[in-house]
C-alpha cells in the first residue's frame, strides 16, 4: 500500500475567545494520497488556514495525529518542525510574500541559503525554474517592481526549487485576475505533476477546485470529501456552505 503524504487522525484544535474556547477543528480524520492535487474548501472562518498551519507544522494540534510524509509532526519540537518545513515542504501564499529586500534570484535561492549555502547545481535549477515560469530575464529585479502575476509565478518557483514532497498553497489565485490565476494553476500542473509532488490548496474559487484530483470541504469542524458531481458542495453552488460563516 502506498504511504499517504498526509495523515490526520482525531485532530482537534481550539482557540481562546471571549473567556472560553472556540473549537475550530474537532476529530478530523483524513488521508491524502501522495502525488495528488487536493483542494480544501470552506467558508471564511471554517478552519481552512488552521488545517494548513497544522499540516505545515506551523501550529500544533490540541489532540490527534499529524503525519506528513510519514513524519509525526505533532511529536516534533518547534525547531524540528521548522527544519522539516524547510526541507520537505513548499509554500505559495495569497499575498505572494516575496522578501522585498532580496532580488528575484535571491528569493528563489532562499530555501538553499537557509540550509547554509547554494551549490552551482542548485543555482542552475533555480534558473531553469525561472525560465519555466518565463521570468529568467528578471533575475536581478526587486519583487516590488513585478506585477502580481509575476510575483506569484516567482513564488511558485520558490516553492518548488528545493523539490519538496508537498506544496501548500493558501488561496494562490486569490489576489490575481482570472487569466493570471489560470497561468499560475497551469504552472503548478506543469511543474508539480511530473515530479509526483503533492499539492494541498486552500481556495474559495470553484474553478481552482475543479482542476484538483479531489476536493475536501470543512463542515461542522470536520473535513468531508466531495465526490465528483456533488455540485452542492462547491462554493457558489451551495447556499449552506457559502453562507456558513457562523459555523466555524
Amino acid at each position: 500500500m502506498v504511504q499517504p503524504i498526509v495523515r490526520l487522525a482525531g485532530l482537534g484544535r481550539s482557540f481562546p475567545e471571549g473567556g472560553g474556547l472556540r473549537s475550530v477543528l474537532d476529530g478530523v480524520d483524513l488521508s491524502l494520497p501522495a502525488g495528488q492535487f487536493t483542494a480544501l474548501l470552506g467558508p471564511s472562518g471554517s478552519g481552512k488556514s488552521t488545517l494548513l498551519n497544522l499540516v505545515s507544522g506551523i501550529d500544533r494540534p490540541d489532540t490527534g495525529v499529524v503525519e506528513v510524509a510519514g513524519v509525526a509532526l505533532h511529536d516534533l519540537s518547534e525547531r524540528e518542525r521548522t527544519l522539516f518545513r524547510r526541507d520537505r515542504l513548499g509554500f505559495v501564499f495569497q499575498f505572494f510574500n516575496l522578501i522585498p529586500t532580496l532580488t528575484v534570484e535571491e528569493n528563489l535561492l532562499l530555501p538553499f541559503e537557509l540550509r547554509g549555502g547554494v551549490t552551482p547545481r542548485q543555482r542552475e535549477r533555480a534558473r531553469e525554474l525561472l525560465d519555466r515560469v518565463g521570468l529568467v530575464d528578471r533575475l536581478n529585479s526587486w519583487p516590488d517592481l513585478l506585477s502580481g502575476g509575476e510575483q506569484q509565478r516567482i513564488a511558485v518557483a520558490r516553492a518548488l526549487v528545493h523539490k519538496p514532497q508537498l506544496v501548500l498553497a493558501d488561496e494562490p489565485t486569490g489576489n490575481l485576475d482570472r487569466d493570471t490565476g489560470e497561468v499560475v494553476l497551469d504552472l503548478l500542473d506543469e511543474l508539480l505533476r511530473p515530479l509526483g509532488t503533492s499539492l494541498l490548496c486552500v481556495t474559495h474559487a470553484p474553478e481552482v477546485a475543479r482542476r484538483m484530483d479531489q476536493v475536501l470541504i470543512i463542515r461542522d469542524r470536520k473535513v468531508v470529501r466531495l465526490e465528483a458531481g456533488d455540485e452542492n458542495g462547491m462554493p457558489g453552488q451551495s447556499a449552506e456552505v457559502a453562507s456558513g460563516g457562523e459555523r466555524g
Binding site: 506551523i58 501550529d59 525547531r79 524547510r86 541559503e113 537557509l114 547554509g116
Partner: protein, 859 residues
Amino acid sequence: MNPFPGLGGGPLFRAGRRHLARNPWQLVLSVLGVALGVAVVVAMDLAIQSSREAFRVSSETVTGRATHQVLGGVSGLPDSLLVQLRMEGGVSAAAPVVDAYVTSPRAPGRALRLLGVDPFSEGAFRPWLAGGPTSDLDGSLLLSRRGAVVLGRELAEVMGLKAEDPMEIGTGEGWGELQVVGVLEARDRASRLGLQDLLIVDLAEAQEQLGRLGRLDRIDLILSGEEDAGAREAAVMRLLPPGARLERAGSREATMAEMIRAFDLNLTALSLLSLVFGVFLIYNAMTFSVVQRRRTLGTFRALGATRGQVMLSILGEALLLGVMGSFLGLLAGIGLGRGLVRLVTRTINDLYFVVSVEGLALPPGVLLKGAALGIGATLLAALPPVWEAGAASPREAMARSSVESRVRRTVPLAAGIGTALAAAGTGLILFPTQALLPAFIGLFGIILGMALLTPLGTVLLVGALRPLLRRTTGVLGAMAARGVVTSLSRTAPAVAALVIAVSVTVGLGIMIQSFRGSVVQWLDATLQADLYVSTPSAVSARADGELPPGAGAMARNVEGVQGLNSYRGVELLTDYGMTRLVALDLDPLGDAGIDLIGGRSGGDQVFEMFRAGDGVLVSEPFAFRQEVGVGDTIRLEGDRNDLALPLLGVYRDYGSETGAVMMSRAVYDLHWEDAGVTSLGLFLEPDADERTVATALREALGTERPLVVRSNSELRELSLEVFDRTFAVTRVLRLLAFGVAFIAILSALMALQLERRREFGVLRANGMTPRQGWGLITAQTGIMGAVAGVLAIPVGLMLAVVMILVVNRRSFGWTLEMQVGVDLVLQAVALALVGALLAGLYPSWRLGRTSPAEALRGE
C-alpha cells in the same frame, strides 16, 4: 557552506541590511543615538582621565625616584633637618624641595609649579636635573646667577621665552623676577607632560621668591634600596620635628586623587544618562524595524528559517549599528572631550587642588571602554526587538496578527517589574552606608522602574483624557488619544524616554536650585563683615596666599574699622586625610557668621568656649566623613605639639568638601609655628564709607604684595560665580542628555507616524484634508508630551530628593535644603510638550506631502 546563514552573507542578514539602506533615516537616527551616547561618556571619561593623568605625571615628575617623603606641617620643615637626617639618621640619599604654584603674566590663567631643588642632591632623584653625561640639564646652571630658571621646551614656546629672557612670576609674596638659563627637551611623553607646567629653580631662589627662608616643603628620601629599610624609617621618624610626617612617596598624591573620586563618579553617572537615552533610541529604531518587517520575518520562518537564525540576523544588524555608532561616538567624544576637560579642570582647581591640563590624554583603555559600552548598550537595547523577531510566527506570513494587543497585555507585567525595580532601587538607596555607588545603582533602578511604569501611566492618563478630547475637539481628538493607546508598542517607549529626560532635567534643576538656595542662605549667614581682604589667586577661587605680617593690627587702626575677624586657612595631610585647618580670631560681631547646625541654642556658650580655646568646631563634611559628633575628641599633630580638644559644634560649610577643623587663633598659635593670615573680615563703623576705608586699608598694608579688597556684596557675587562655574559641567551634560532624548523621541514619533501611512491614506481618501491630518498628528504628539510632562513631575521630584538627600550627602557630606520652584515644575510640562510637538513636525510634514493613492498602495 555558510554555517551561520543568519550572519554575514546569509539571506536574512542581507535582507536586513538592505532594509536599513532603504530606510536611511532609521539608520541615521540609530547610529546617531549610539554615537551621541558614546560621545558624551567617552568625552567625560577622557576629561576626567586627562586631569588625573596630568596630576599623576606632574606628581611623579617632581617626586622622581624618591621612595619616601618627609612632609612639613603648616610652616614646612627647617633647613637643618636635612643635615640632621644625613648625619644622625644615616640617610645617604636625601633631596630638599620647595614646591609652590605661581602665576605668570605670560601664561594667563595657567598654574605653574615652581620647584626649588638642590642641584647637587638631585642626581639620585631626578637625574634629568642633575648634570652629567646622560642628563638633559647642567644643574650648575641653576647656581650660575640669581633668579636662574629652567623650563621645558613646550612651556617656553607657549610663554614666548628663550635662554637669557627675563620672566615675571606672581607668588603670594608679590611679583618676582627670574631669568631663563636653560630650556629642557622632553625625552618622552611622560617627561613632556611632567615638564608642561614646571619652573625649576635653585632651592635658595625658591625660598626667597616664596618668602620661606630657611624652610623646606619636603625632603625626598630613598630608603628602600638601603639595608634594613624598616630600621631606617624608624631612625628618620625619631628625628622628625612635631607636625612633620614620613610618608611613602605617592601617598599624598593618592590621598588627593581620592578626594576627587566622588566628583568624578557624579560626572560619570551623569554622562551615563546620555547612554541610557541612546539605549532608548536604539530600542525604538530596532523595534520599529522588526515590527515593520514582521510579515517578511514570518515568511522567512514559514520557509524554514529557524527562530535562532531570525534572532541572530536582527542581533547582527544591531551589532552593525553598534559598531558604526560607537566608532563615530569615539571620534565625536574626543572632540567634545577637549571642551569638557577645561570645565572639569577648572572645577577641580576651584574645589580641590591645583592641576594644569594642557592636552587631552587618549588612553586606549578609555576608548576601548567607550566602544564596549556603545556596542554592549546597543545589543542590550536590541534584546527585546530580537526576542520580538524570534516570536514572529510563520502564521504572520499568511494573516496579520496584532502585535499591539500582545503589547497591551504586557502593560501590567511591565508595571509590576517597574514597581519591583523602583522598590529595589529605593531599598538600595536607603541601605545605611556612606558608599556612593549603591546610591547611583539605586537611582538608575528607580529611573528604569519608572520607565517601565510609563505604559500603565499613559494608558490611564489617556483614558481619562479621551472623553474630554472627544467633547472638545470631536472625532479627530478622540482618534488622536485612542491612537496613543492602540500603538502602545511605539508610543510607550517614546513617552518613557521623554519622561526620563524631563524628570532628570527637573531633578537636576531642583537639585541645583536647592544647592544654590542653600549656598545663598549660607553666604547670607556667614558673610557678616563689610569688607574682606585677601591676596589674589590666579589658579583657584580660594584665597590661599598670605597677607603681610601684622596686617590685622594695621587694619584695626584704619579709621572707620570697628572690629575684625582674622582667618588663616591651610590644607594639611592629617590622620583624617587632607584637612583644611582654619584658625579664626573671631570678633564678637562675627559670631553670627558661623552657621552652627542644629539651631543656635547654646550657641553663645559654644562661641565662648571656642574663644577660650576649650574646643574646636568642624565643618559638616568633616563630621559626616569622619563620623564624629559633639563631645568627641579631635586629634591633630601640630608643629609644636599635638592637639586633642573636644568637638564643640558642627558648622555648615559649602566652601570645602574635604572637611575643615576650625579653632581659635590662640589654639592654632599654641600648636603651629605659623604667624600667617590668609584673609581679614572687617566690620565698619555704621557711618563709614566702604570705598574710603578700602583705599585707606590698601595704603596701610602697603603695595609690596598684591591685595584684593572686596565688599560683602562683591564677595557674595564672586562666591556664586564660582558656584555656577562648578555646575557648568553639569549643565552641559544635562543639555547633551536632553539632546539625545529629543532625538529618541523624534525617532519614535517618526516611526509611529510613518508606520501609519496607510491608515493616513485611508483617512485622506475619505476626505481628511492635509491640515486636518496635521492637526491629528500634532494632537497626538501633544497628548504624548502632556502625558510625559505630567508623569515627569513626580518622577523628577523623586530624583531630586534622592540627589539632594543621598547623592550629594554621600558625595560631598553636605545637607541641602530642598527648594522646589513652581516655575521648574511648569517648565517640565512645557519642555515635554514643546519637545513632543517639535518632534511631531517632520512626520506631519512628510505625511502631508504623501498622496493618498501612494499611501494606500504602499503596504
